[in-house]
Symmetry: C2
Subunit: 477 residues, 2 copies
Amino acid sequence: MSLTSCSNELLASAVCSEGVHPEKELLDWVEKRNRAHNYSVQPVPLEKLSGWHFEASTGNLIHSTGKFFRVEGLAIKTNAGSVHGWMQPILNQPEVGILGFLAKRIDGVLHLLVQAKMEPGNINLIQLSPTVQATRSNYTQVHGGRRPMFMGYFLGEERVRVLTDQLQSEQGARYLRKRNRNVIMQISDDALMQPPEDFRWLTIGQLQRLARQANLVHLDCRSILGGTSLGGADAQEGLSVLLAADTFQGRVLASIRAGDSQVEKSLAEILSWLAHLKCHCEQQVRSLPLKEVVGWKLQDGVIRHETGRFFSIVGMAVQAASREVASWHQPLVKSMDGGIIGLITQMRNGILHFLIQGRTEPGFLDLVELAPTVQCAPANYLQGTHTPLPAFVEFLQAMPRERIRFDTMLSEEGGRFYHSQQRHLVVELEPDVSIEIPPSYCWMSLGQIHECARFNNLLNIELRSILACVPLAGCAN
Amino acid sequence: MSLTSCSNELLASAVCSEGVHPEKELLDWVEKRNRAHNYSVQPVPLEKLSGWHFEASTGNLIHSTGKFFRVEGLAIKTNAGSVHGWMQPILNQPEVGILGFLAKRIDGVLHLLVQAKMEPGNINLIQLSPTVQATRSNYTQVHGGRRPMFMGYFLGEERVRVLTDQLQSEQGARYLRKRNRNVIMQISDDALMQPPEDFRWLTIGQLQRLARQANLVHLDCRSILGGTSLGGADAQEGLSVLLAADTFQGRVLASIRAGDSQVEKSLAEILSWLAHLKCHCEQQVRSLPLKEVVGWKLQDGVIRHETGRFFSIVGMAVQAASREVASWHQPLVKSMDGGIIGLITQMRNGILHFLIQGRTEPGFLDLVELAPTVQCAPANYLQGTHTPLPAFVEFLQAMPRERIRFDTMLSEEGGRFYHSQQRHLVVELEPDVSIEIPPSYCWMSLGQIHECARFNNLLNIELRSILACVPLAGCAN
């Protein structure tokens, strides 16, 4: 295989489901790291969180240093979706964090340095995480802890090769215009031969295989990988070698290099569709004090909606030997159970297309981002109002087993979300099934999605999360 | 020539300096349109503008309908540039307008439908303008005028081929997060054979040639053309035919298709540099009532800075038979004279590179956009403070004649700016001259700039304005 350009090297790593450590060894290692660390996470009423308090004048939940993040209020008016006005609590963390993988060639194939890392909100406390996840508070050490390992590679202190480096949005329904820098930096082949015990070198294909286990591969890994361009125009030569016969992975690979004559819409048309959606999106987002947010209340030490729907904010006390700080208290967001992130795919004009939604969320910087076909917690729609379920939810839930290409429970980020998981579902419609799509949806090839992934604030985090699960390696059903 | 893809068709039009109308005929036509229209533009004190008033509670200058735009205040704190805090008036026009060209093939070459249009602030009252320039107020007819011609092609009412369609920023130092949709839509070859008398079909190359005449080609033409990807990866075949020997245009053309091994930085590295700039940009922009803006005053019916620098807001009474509304009053921005928009180019690794600035302006949606090497009114720096001139201003002003590739006075948009023009200057350094560049500057190939032009809020309007002047056709010195 002669894949030399950087995107082709990433692609070669993605189709490589074997790395320097066999899968069994990696699972044993995670198990061992789980046992090696002492941790406990216990609920604490928000009023009693050490270091945090409700600010008298606003009711906002803030840290005594003014750093980290704060919970404040948001009022939204919008012409998107079926609900046109509401208020909600929102996380405000006005600093850009770094989510970064180190990468290097081992036996000629790119491997990523994966960390077995504990987060308070993780269902499995240890998850496979990027090399570095650091808020600016972390790496400027405002909380007095240690600087996260390997930061120098991401702060320009060491010589590296940039494979991907882009600001990307976090959850627009929970964060106010929050972005993180999603980064993969390649280091020289002979560096870090013996990484510390919490780190292992894995291929992207191995991470994809492991993503099929519930709540094992951290959202931040999915965020980086799903937002990385694999292949592109110059992938052709490599791909012609790799293209398997008639497998879903083969169709996925072919979708990366789909030509202009094969795609449903040209990229120019897709960008035009997106410009149109942004032009017609009328959205007013206004920050307000948490105490003025109507419909939400502090009850039993938890902030929740009066209907019990949407999400709640809970307090937790954390004890952990393996983190930069040995113990701390913090608020966490608890989402509704039963959330679905679903991606519909279909062979169209002989090329696998992905049904992408142009979606508006209150915390987006630029009104509309590309999102999965379905992104929804159906339980939010069951009681009270007669608001209909969003498009394709029931269609996806009724999908027969043989059309399902990926189906795993995967977690939200455990540093801000408590035991919050979503069903990640990739389905492939039969080629002859015709479905009607609303104007805010669009069929795209994977190559077109990757093209958009290179620029900031185009793919939302839920889309990146599910894209990272679309199987490229030899791990499909 | 077998250029079939859409970007190659645009490129073929750009290198074609002859169209269905010879240049002489076009200049006569502009002259005739100037004579055909009755117009007069007379100053009126802002307090006496019909339909406009200073709102009592805020001091903001607003229209009685609440539509069009308003002049309000802005307070800026930033770590960018040499001045770290100031207040200023700013235009707030929270609606997306459409700047659009219709295009069609004539004798196999793409022509754009250009309008000879009067704007109150134009130095030459009639300028060559896009087919359509319409604010949302215009085309929804809130002011009671006629709907601009050809709108149907841009509002999805007619079948068209999208050549380019992207939201792009307006002047970030004068507008608060304003964007317009920059569009080129191709119609069928047999449509609009006889356009109305104010319209003519021109090739892109003809527009580029005419841009060498002072204040003739409107900023909105330059905005669209400078923000349009020409060529790209698939331009190779066509270009090998077109590449002239050793001319500046030949080097410009070759820069469009520069390969990964020839560029100074890869696109991944450039996007990483931009992500780094955005991460380290600390900017707080706060809207405030105009009457709270310190340092500015209403004097003799004009809003100006107490030093006389920066810009002023003036009132004008307009009489014109050829506009949607026959007469109206409006405020206009008058910039300082002597402004420079300058682009330094240089052969590096055998490829022409452009020295691009990562620039922060208060009205940007996303902190940093790509900007020309120099964008500055030196007069703003001469009096009072000891603030040094921005990088490369004096260097550019001292450039010997034989290094200059383009040098013309071109106007700001005459619908909002009054008699405001800037010297547009493209220079080419000798290949062996070594210059030191600050960290917020970066050498890029034209192909890389075009790649960025496809996505919104990456190229600021001054960069698009000067890019449209970089000669591709046979019109250089």
